[in-house]
């Protein structure tokens, strides 16, 4: 078992190291700049060298890891996540996903990568309007060309996993926020992607729905799925095996909370974990008249 505060990967050109965990994603010298000239926003810059040249962000995530990305507002978390999810292209730098250089893929191959390798969960749920939960979850399978019966079976299994089997026929406007987010989780994991990316998945949820969603995420990670999520809440970050902090477009600290192999912290000793919940403050707020 190796614990590293800053993962040191061999350069991409070097021969793969036979021992040690497999990196599922690796970004090298990643820079993202919005706009030009004086108005340019350096959303992802990394350390700047003596000549003022941006070195870019380096990050490696291994198979089975559970990474929480934290940082203040505007620090570039979503920018990084959108690039990791192949929703946006970096200004410069390389992104290797499962060994494939994403920068060299064309539009159609990118859609395949998004469909097969990545499950993306948004803060604002982003369900397709006027579509039932079941159809919603079937959608990625439909794009993958899975047959109707098989699609139905797998979508139903995913919905059961998030505890929404009885809401399969409900449309997004008939579901609570927490339920919508669980549908979104089901949709993200139905294709069995190599990794699950989540941009503030609990940002719009109350503490109970947050626990529901995190419990699912914990179980998925325990089952071997790689998870990268963005959060502002320490309570959420507590569930991760590793916490990466961004400040002003660079990685400021990278802390491992639990070993890469093995269960996520919440499942190692559930009772002990629950006793340290940071929700207490919320609970008190609810008791004082806050609604649920």
């Amino acid at each position: 078992m190796r614990l590293r505060s800053r993962p040191q990967q061999p350069p991409p050109t070097a021969a793969p190291v036979p021992r040690g965990p497999v990196p599922i994603l690796a970004v090298r010298k990643l820079v993202k700049t919005y706009g030009h000239g004086d108005a340019a926003v350096h959303a992802l810059a990394g350390p700047v060298d003596a000549d003022g040249v941006e070195q870019g962000v380096d990050l490696t995530v291994h198979q089975g890891d559970f990474v929480a990305i934290m940082g203040s507002s505007g620090s570039g978390k979503s920018t990084l996540m959108n690039i990791l999810g192949c929703l946006d292209a970096p200004t410069s730098g390389r992104y290797l996903l499962d060994g494939i250089d994403v920068g060299h893929l064309d539009e159609h191959q990118l859609s395949l990568v998004r469909n097969r390798k990545i499950g993306f969960i948004f803060q604002s749920f982003n369900l397709v309007p006027r579509t039932t939960a079941l159809a919603q979850v079937e959608l990625p399978l439909a794009y993958a060309g899975v047959k109707a019966a098989e699609r139905r079976r797998r979508a139903m299994a995913a919905l059961t996993l998030v505890g929404l089997a009885d809401r399969a026929d409900h449309r997004p406007n008939e579901l609570s926020g927490g339920q919508q987010q669980r549908v979104a989780v089901a949709r993200a994991l139905v294709t069995s992607p190599a990794m699950l990316l989540a941009d503030e998945p609990t940002g719009n949820l109350d503490s109970r729905s947050t626990d529901d969603v995190l419990a699912i995420v914990d179980r998925l990670n325990a089952a071997g799925r790689t998870i990268v999520l963005i959060t502002h809440e320490d309570e959420v970050a507590r569930h991760a095996k590793r916490v990466v902090r961004l400040v002003d477009g660079q990685i400021y600290e990278d802390i491992r909370q639990a070993p890469l192999q093995g269960l996520p912290p919440a499942l190692q000793d559930p009772v002990e974990f629950a006793s340290h919940t940071l929700h207490v403050g919320h609970v008190r707020a609810h008791a004082n008249g806050g609604d649920r």
Binding site: L87, D88, S111, R114, N115
Partner: protein, 403 residues
């Protein structure tokens, strides 16, 4: 994604906004129906003219009195006479003329057993008239040369006149009173039908001297002479022969000073046919514009739909929808709109073509049906593809950030 699924998504998309989809379809419907129906009306009217030419007989020439085209320098106009007609009947001088029928015409009130009916055209003529004017008896018989020689009071009546006076009963052998003179009906003409201002079936045809005696007087002058050329091709040479003979009859030396006119039915009607074609083209142009407007309607709706659903497109792309699938979904929607709209338009036009429109029976041109329908669908594809490809080309994050 199989085609069936794409189609189901498209149906879902259209059903989500029924009023909007319905109105767009209505635009296409009206466009397609207008193209088919207006072309059918134009076609129907020129068809009617063609039928009228056939009914009048293409061999027929009409000689009428008067200084014709206005270029004539005739100072005195000699009326046409029966002698002129006889001269034209001389086959040695006019080999291209088959029959000659001098005509006098008037309008009289006919009475049969208290039923009265104003006949718009009472014609006194020779039996040759029937063939030259393409009038065939349906019941009974024509009157004969003998009837003409003896000025018998016999008549052949048109089908409208017969129906008005006798209803469904046979008029043959009955005696009608025409302007106070009794006439025995010997024949009824077959219905010609027609679209002109005058009903060609509202007529009474009687021997020339009988009509002259009874109504127009025996002045010897006649209204016009109907001449039948041997063939349709011989009408030009027949016209020349008529001119030569009548110039001799009227002692006219210069062809520019003739006091009569020779006109062929065909020449009169070609003018109308060409007017009709202009009319059809104009109608078609108006209809085509309405179809184009329908197409712009589709583009507009697709643009609105795409803009409204940009976020949804972003979501779909984020979960791995390939560009082609998004493109085909929106294309399927716009094609479906134009397909259903166009189909209903064709149906509406075919139903509408069963009714008379401004007195014209529309005759649907099959090509216009395929054409209008095809153009409608093509418009759907063409105008739908622009907004669709614009939507499908967006980067997922751009589409997701769209407000």
């Amino acid at each position: 994604m199989n085609p069936f699924q794409t189609l189901r998504f498209a149906f879902g998309g259209l059903a989500a906004n029924k009023v909007r989809s319905g109105l767009t379809m209505l635009g296409i419907l009206i466009g397609v129906a207008a193209v088919i129906l207006l072309l059918a009306v134009g076609n129907g009217s020129s068809q009617a003219v063609k039928d009228a030419i056939q009914a009048l007989g293409t061999n027929a020439l009409t000689v009428s009195s008067g200084s014709g085209s206005g270029s004539s320098t005739a100072t005195v106009v000699k009326p046409l006479t029966v002698d002129d007609a006889r001269a034209l009947a001389d086959t040695s001088q006019a080999p291209d003329i088959k029959g000659v029928a001098p005509e006098v015409s008037t309008s009289q009130t006919a009475i049969y057993q208290g039923t009265s009916h104003t006949v718009s055209s009472v014609v006194g003529t020779y039996p040759a008239y029937f063939e030259a004017s393409n009038s065939k008896v349906d019941k009974g018989d024509y009157f004969s040369d003998d009837d003409v020689l003896n000025s018998r009071k016999v008549a052949v009546i048109g089908s409208t006149t017969a129906t008005d006076l006798f209803g469904t009963a046979s008029p043959i052998g009955k005696v009608i009173t025409l302007g106070g003179t009794p006439f025995t009906v010997v024949g009824e003409l077959a219905t010609k039908g027609g679209t002109g201002f005058q009903d060609p079936d509202d007529t009474v045809i009687a021997p020339l001297p009988t009509v002259q005696n009874a109504f127009t007087g025996f002045s010897g002058s006649i209204s016009q002479i109907l001449v039948e050329a041997t063939t349709a091709d011989a009408t030009t040479s027949a016209t020349n022969e008529i001119t030569t003979i009548l110039m001799g009859q009227h002692s006219i030396t210069s062809p520019s000073a003739v006091d009569f006119r020779v006109s062929s039915q065909t020449s009169l009607l070609t003018t109308r046919t060409s007017t009709d074609q202009t009319f059809t083209v104009l109608l078609g142009a108006v209809a085509a514009i309405s179809l184009l407007v329908g197409g712009i309607g589709i583009t507009n709706i697709m643009l609105v739909t795409v803009t409204e659903r940009t976020r949804e497109i972003g979501i779909r792309k984020a979960i791995g929808a390939p560009k082609g699938v998004i493109l085909s979904q929106f294309l399927a929607e716009s094609t479906l709109l134009s397909l259903v709209g166009g189909g209903l338009g064709v149906a509406a036009a075919l139903i509408g073509a069963h009714f008379k429109i401004v007195g014209i029976k529309p005759v649907v041109i099959p090509e216009s049906v395929y054409g209008a329908f095809g153009i409608a669908v093509a418009i759907g594809l063409f105008f739908g593809s622009y907004p669709a490809s614009r939507a499908a080309s967006l980067r997922p994050i751009e589409a997701l950030r769209h407000e």
